[in-house]
Symmetry: C2
Subunit: 339 residues, 2 copies
Amino acid sequence: MSVGMDDNLAVAPARKVVALSGGIGGAKLALGLKLVLGEGALTVIANTGDDFVHMGLHVSPDIDTLVYTLAGLNNPETGWGRAGETWSFMSAAEMLGGEGWFKLGDGDLAMHVLRTAQLASGETLSGFTAEVCRRLDVGATVVPMSNDPVRTLLRSDEGWLEFQDYFVRRQAAPVVHEITYQGAERAAPADGLVELLTGDTVDAIVLCPSNPLISLDPILAVPGLREAIIEAPAPAVAVSPIIKGKAVKGPTAKMLDELGFGADATSVLHRYAGLIDAFVADPRDVASLEAAGTDVMVVGEDIMMTTLADRERVARRVLDAADQVRAGERVAHRLPGAA
Amino acid sequence: MSVGMDDNLAVAPARKVVALSGGIGGAKLALGLKLVLGEGALTVIANTGDDFVHMGLHVSPDIDTLVYTLAGLNNPETGWGRAGETWSFMSAAEMLGGEGWFKLGDGDLAMHVLRTAQLASGETLSGFTAEVCRRLDVGATVVPMSNDPVRTLLRSDEGWLEFQDYFVRRQAAPVVHEITYQGAERAAPADGLVELLTGDTVDAIVLCPSNPLISLDPILAVPGLREAIIEAPAPAVAVSPIIKGKAVKGPTAKMLDELGFGADATSVLHRYAGLIDAFVADPRDVASLEAAGTDVMVVGEDIMMTTLADRERVARRVLDAADQVRAGERVAHRLPGAA
């Protein structure tokens, strides 16, 4: 055998990590995790509560954002959709009287058209998504939380709204009074997810900095997934989607406030109580998080992920936190430079 | 009343014409007819035997070619699809493992996606097509021959093939032994077609220079349509798709030959025997057509429609022939300049 081959064989086995994620914000951390862990080590459980049928096509916005981001095909300006996209379809569809409020790019359409055809022919959403990950060299596994339909519905001051109707068409403007995940109680986790989470091959479970109400709660509402995370031998680490009372992106703070939960990182920490071992938040939020009285390890880190380096840095901090928890080092948090 | 209004009111009522057509070749004459007749006077009965479900989408190639051509949106180089088309969908679909042999342009996709969604929600193909004609200012009425599925199947030296499989994927290479129009015997003409054809508002019925075997025969195979043309008070005029033994476009001559009908204009004339009153063909084919012994009026005209002026010229010749038949002037044909 050559020295080169010995070198290859000597590489340490990759760490396995499972992340729970919605779309844009969560996908940033997922990409950081993939880059830090290397190819094949990351499984992302994607929210499908935002899925909907539009123009007869099955659209899975969070799965697609994760796939495009992890494959490096994403549009870095919007956070959703593909880079270098064209828009001939939308323009022609509007000429034909089609609705224009939900933008389907020409290249992006391939995902929706093929998914719709595959589902109609009996393929599962997880089967289709696995094939997409393989074809696009995603380097990670994206798995829908369930192959059964779960639909996030919001009761607002304008009545019950479907998710995309609220989020895209109405741009999250209506005041939200209640959220429900229709179908969740009858949904089964996608094949293998519970076994993966509760098995001993996973080093860390990561709750990405997605909107807890509309991105992670739908995942946790699928019977068996919350329980699996609680039972899992691996530590669970969440990253706050809120910095100093403001959402990094989107209506997270507004929704938390409207529902009476409090628009701050502490409110997110409380939502994940009993589920997580560590919580990574902006250093400026650490004092109030610790003051809230929690046995969760609070980790201060700049969690704004603007650059690729930011994403890798936050991913490393998350994995370090998991290591600390696993090693029983649940030490009181020290702000950087506080000695 | 103003003089201007009197002038408008004095305009002669437009002639009403019904044409039967397949795709590219027929659409050229249909456009000529529309331009000669003016807006709103032309109804085109479109072949739907080529329709198929591709990637889960209901594709109606002949309807779309007619709509794009009549609306001036067509790609003049290919004859099918839209001008200025982009191809992001196909490229992305092939990356995802989708089939690449049938080209669906990005703008063109709007037609298929919206049609599929509308049909799934209970709309008829004729209802959807009428709305498309209205939205795109087609200036003519395109009507599918039937709202019921009819599928052209070809028995070849490679076994039974679906139409697009034979025509596009195999580029009409296999030798054809038999053609059938599956479902035709149970199909009903689209609403209003029989009444239109047999009523007294139509001045001419035109069989466009489409492939008789795979474009016009499927239309004539829908119970009631052939009979309506025979019973119609309006004269029926066909234009030959064959010039001096060669098809103007596509495999018409090859197919006629393989099926033993003879690859010439006379064989097309014989197929339409009992159905038409006049047959417009290349002047060089007139002698042999007349020698075949027919009571159909044979009209010699340069039927190559390269330019827009060609299309209008052939359309005028067709309408003149209908006038002659209606006026009882079924005189023996004279070649131009033969005195």
